[in-house]
C-alpha cells in the first residue's frame, strides 16, 4: 500500500543528508570525544563543528549550545535551571500557559511540588497568549516565563518576540520551547530575544535522540545528569556524536529549504483546511493566520478520533488525534480543551502535519478519504443521530 505520512509533528523521516552525515560516525569515527587518540579527536572535532553549525543556524554563539537527548530533556533542563537561578535570588514564581507540551507542564508540576508558584495562563480560542497577559502576570518574584514558539497540536505560532521584550523589560528570564518551529519557520535567538530555547532533531528530518538547549551567555544551566565533564560540565554522558552531527546537517538543510518549502506547504495546508471544512459541522483548531506552514487540526462533531485514525490508516494515511482513546488517557487533548472545545468535540479531532515530501495529489486523497470515513462513522454514531434528529444541539455549527 502507498503510505501517506502526515504526522510530521510527531516525528519526521530522516533526510538523506542527515543519514549520510551520521554514517561515518557509526562506521569509522566511532571514538569517544574525550579520548586523546586520533579516533577520539576526530569525534571531538566533529562535535565542535556540529555545535558551531547549530549555533550559526539559530544565530547563537558556539558556547551557548548544550546538547541534550532531545526536546524533552532540553525543556526539563531549561526550566530547572531557571528555577534554581531564581530560587537563589528568592524568586519562586514561574509563568507559562495551558497548551504547552507535557515536557514543560509536567516539569512545572514537579517544581510546584518543590515550592514554586506556577501560573498557567489561559489562551484565547486560537491558542494564543498575549504579551499583555504576560506583563500582567509578572511580579517581583517571577523567575521565569516559558512560552512555546509554536504549538505541536494546533500549530498556532505565539508572539514570542513581543513576549520576550516584555520579559526583558521586567528583568525576567524567558525560555521558549521551539521544538515544533526550528527548521520550519525562520528563527534567530537574538531576533527573538530569548534567554533559552529548546530544539529537537527528529522534528526537522534529523535523528531521534538528539536535541539542544540554547542558553544565553552569562547564564549557567543546571546539571541534570551527573557524571563526566561533557557539555562543559552541564550534561554528563558520552556524546551521541552520530546523532549530533546528523542533527547539524538536518538543521542546516531544513533552514536552507524554508523559503522554498513554505509556500508549497502553505498551499497544501490551506487546500486541506478548505477541503475538510466542507464536511458539515467541522471546525479548524488554531489560528488560520499565525500557523505553522504544515499544520492542520480539525474537529468533526459526532465521531471519535481513534476510530477515524484507524480507518484512515487502513487507507494508508498516517495521522494523529487529540482524542483520549489515542493516548490511553481519560481526557482528550489538554490543548483542545484549553481553546474551549468541549470534551465531546475534542474527542473527534484529527491532526495532519505535512512535510515537503507530501504532494497535492496526496492532499486530495486525504480530503476524499476523510470525508468518506467521517460520513461512515457518523452513520453509526448514536450522537450523530441525536444531533440530526434535534435531540441534541450541535456544538459546531
Amino acid at each position: 500500500m502507498n503510505r501517506i505520512y502526515v504526522d510530521n509533528a510527531a516525528t519526521t523521516k530522516m533526510s538523506k543528508a542527515a543519514i549520510e552525515a551520521m554514517l561515518p560516525y557509526l562506521e569509522e569515527c566511532y571514538g569517544n570525544s574525550s579520548s586523546l587518540h586520533t579516533v577520539g579527536q576526530l569525534a571531538a572535532e566533529a562535535l565542535f563543528k556540529a555545535r558551531q553549525s547549530i549555533a550559526e543556524s539559530i544565530g547563537a554563539d558556539i558556547k551557548e549550545i548544550y546538547f541534550t537527548s532531545g526536546g524533552s530533556e532540553a525543556d526539563n533542563q531549561a526550566l530547572i535551571s531557571a528555577a534554581e537561578m531564581g530560587a537563589r535570588k528568592g524568586k519562586k514564581h514561574i509563568i507559562s500557559q495551558k497548551t504547552e507540551h507535557h515536557a514543560i507542564l509536567h516539569t512545572l508540576k514537579k517544581l510546584e511540588k518543590q515550592g514554586f508558584k506556577v501560573d498557567l495562563l489561559n489562551v484565547d480560542g486560537e491558542g494564543n497568549v498575549t504579551p499583555e497577559q504576560i506583563a500582567e502576570a509578572i511580579g517581583p518574584d517571577t523567575a521565569l516565563v516559558t512560552i512555546m514558539t509554536a504549538n505541536n497540536e494546533i500549530g498556532t505560532i505565539m508572539p514570542i518576540k513581543e513576549i520576550a521584550a516584555v520579559c526583558k523589560e521586567k528583568g525576567v528570564l524567558f525560555h521558549t520551547d521551539a521544538v515544533q518551529a526550528v527548521g520550519h519557520i525562520p528563527l534567530d535567538v537574538h531576533d527573538i530575544g530569548c534567554d533559552m530555547l529548546s530544539l529537537s532533531a527528529h522534528k526537522f528530518h534529523g535523528p531521534k535522540g538528539a536535541g539542544a538547549l540554547y542558553v544565553r551567555k552569562g547564564l549557567m544551566p543546571s546539571c541534570l545528569i551527573e557524571g563526566g565533564a561533557q557539555e562543559r560540565g552541564r550534561r554528563a554522558g558520552t556524546e551521541n556524536i552520530a546523532g549530533i552531527v546528523s542533527m547539524a546537517a538536518a538543521l542546516k538543510e531544513a533552514i536552507g529549504n524554508i523559503s522554498e518549502n513554505t509556500p508549497r506547504l502553505i498551499a497544501m495546508r490551506d487546500r486541506l483546511i478548505k477541503g475538510l471544512s466542507e464536511i458539515p459541522h467541522s471546525i479548524l483548531n488554531g489560528s488560520i493566520i499565525n500557523r505553522l506552514p504544515g499544520s492542520v487540526n480539525m474537529c468533526f462533531e459526532g465521531i471519535e478520533g481513534e476510530s477515524l485514525l484507524l480507518l484512515l490508516d487502513a487507507k494508508g494515511i498516517c495521522a494523529s488525534s487529540g482524542s483520549a482513546c489515542t493516548s490511553g488517557a481519560l481526557d482528550p487533548s489538554h490543548v483542545l480543551l484549553a481553546i474551549g472545545r468541549p470534551h465531546e468535540v475534542a474527542h473527534g479531532s484529527l491532526r495532519l502535519t505535512l512535510s515537503e515530501e507530501n504532494t497535492p495529489e496526496e492532499i486530495e486523497f486525504i480530503i476524499k478519504s476523510t470525508k468518506d470515513v467521517v460520513e461512515y462513522l457518523r452513520n453509526m454514531s448514536p450522537i450523530w443521530q441525536d444531533l440530526q434528529e434535534g435531540k441534541r444541539k450541535y456544538v459546531i455549527q
Binding site: E304, S307, L310, S323, C325, E344, P382, Q385
Partner: protein, 142 residues
C-alpha cells in the same frame, strides 16, 4: 499492533450496525464526555433475540466490542443474553489492551440495558440484582 486481528476485523467490518424501527428493547450506555456511547436495539420474539442492531460513538475497541456483543446474543434467549460478561466479549475478541477493557464493559451494560428496557416496557417482573450497576466510569462518575 495495538489491536488483535479479531478486533480489527470487527472494527472494520462491524456486524449488525444500524438502528431499528419499533425495537422491543433499546439500551444506551456511556457518556459523551468520556468519548463513548453505545446503543443496542433488540427485536424479541418469545424471549428470543431474533434481531439486534447497534450504533456506537467511540474508538475502535468500542465499535468492535459492540459488534462482537451483538453477534454473541443474536438468536439467543434473553436469559443467555443477560449472562453475557465483558470478559466473554474480550475473550471472543482475542483480548483488548488494558486501557480499553472499559469498552467491553460498556457492551455488556448496553445489552443489559436493552433487555431491561424490554422488561420495563412490557411490565415483566425481573430480579433487580441483575441490573445493578456494576461499573462506574472513573472519569465522570456516571
Amino acid at each position: 499492533m495495538l489491536y488483535s486481528e479479531r478486533v480489527m476485523d470487527h472494527f472494520t467490518n462491524p456486524r449488525n450496525v444500524g438502528t431499528m424501527d419499533n425495537a422491543d428493547g433499546v439500551g444506551e450506555v456511556g457518556n459523551v464526555k468520556c468519548g463513548d456511547i453505545m446503543k443496542i436495539f433488540l427485536k424479541i420474539d418469545n424471549d428470543i433475540i431474533t434481531d439486534v442492531k447497534f450504533s456506537t460513538f467511540g474508538c475502535g475497541s468500542a465499535i468492535a466490542s459492540s459488534s462482537m456483543a451483538t453477534e454473541m446474543i443474536k438468536g439467543k434467549p434473553l436469559s443467555q443474553a443477560l449472562e453475557l460478561t465483558n470478559q466473554a466479549v474480550v475473550e471472543a475478541l482475542d483480548g483488548l489492551p488494558a486501557h480499553k477493557l472499559h469498552c467491553s464493559v460498556l457492551a455488556e451494560e448496553a445489552v443489559k440495558a436493552a433487555v431491561k428496557d424490554y422488561y420495563d416496557k412490557n411490565g415483566i417482573e425481573y430480579d433487580k440484582e441483575i441490573f445493578a450497576q456494576t461499573h462506574d466510569c472513573e472519569h465522570c462518575g456516571e
